[in-house]
Symmetry: C2
Subunit: 145 residues, 2 copies
Amino acid sequence: MLTIGKLGAAAGVKVPTIRYYEQIGLLPPPGRSTGNQRLYPRAALDRLTFIRHARDLGFPLEAIRDLLSLSDRPDQSCAAADAIARTQLAAVRARIARLTALEAELQRMVAQCAHGTIASCRVIEVLGDHSHCADDDHARADAAA
Amino acid sequence: MLTIGKLGAAAGVKVPTIRYYEQIGLLPPPGRSTGNQRLYPRAALDRLTFIRHARDLGFPLEAIRDLLSLSDRPDQSCAAADAIARTQLAAVRARIARLTALEAELQRMVAQCAHGTIASCRVIEVLGDHSHCADDDHARADAAA
DNA sequence: CCTTGAACCTATAGGTGCTAGAGATATTAG
DNA sequence: CTAATATCTCTAGCACCTATAGGTTCAAGG
Ligand SMILES: [Zn+2]
Ligand SMILES: [Zn+2]
Ligand SMILES: [Zn+2]
Ligand SMILES: [Zn+2]
């Protein structure tokens, strides 16, 4: 049996985060010691490690919730799991595309500045007027990694 | 003079967002009509357009706040503004690097799945064990575009 | 056995950048 | 004048935690 601190250390997840996952139903409430402290079986470490790894790969908690419930039904087809992963891959690619457009524009902006006064600063000027931009590709879209 | 709706339409910013910017002190409180509705001078459109563009380029509101107060002092050196832009460029590049690592791992995961049952699904397996990953580069880091 | 200090408990609030809703008032077009 | 639209304030919610406060339990050393 593991205390919440040991569990967190083993999985690389902070203690309040574990409690948060329990609160939103991503981790089942574990048993308690006589003094009311959480005690986790080894299996909880696998589950938390799974969650942590999926978070590291950018999956949203809702997707992880679905993946976990799928992994509890080992006989079923994995099509649903694969679809979730492909969706995530597409989301990551979309973010990369957007960020790459931002990078180009920022790079241009920084490179063109002559390091004089604010009045002649290219950074300030470009920010004030999108028509100075080479690309339209930074139309607002999304967030989060 | 512009109503909040016209201002928002002109700058491509939603009305509640404008009120939010006012609330956090990013936009100065404008005058009001006799019926207590906000009335903006033309200059507010420039300021809001600046904010919108900087947001589109991923600058956090705090950085934009700094950039705006710099742009109010046109005689000063633009070094501080350039530094903010370079910081933003570095942040964008860091996110791209991280997302590119995620992309590679997700791609591998999806490609290796044989489309059988959950029990043999490579997606589920890799998520459960980071040692299946080719790279360590998805150690948690940041967020937001 | 007793004390100390770390780890644990609950509950609440904050952070980022908005967005959505309720319920009331103002303005504008027909 | 009336009806539709736009505005007003206030509050709560989104994702995903993180931090704080104020209290209890546990493990080890003396
Ligand atoms: Zn400059
Ligand atoms: Zn632009
Ligand atoms: Zn599969
Ligand atoms: Zn991995």
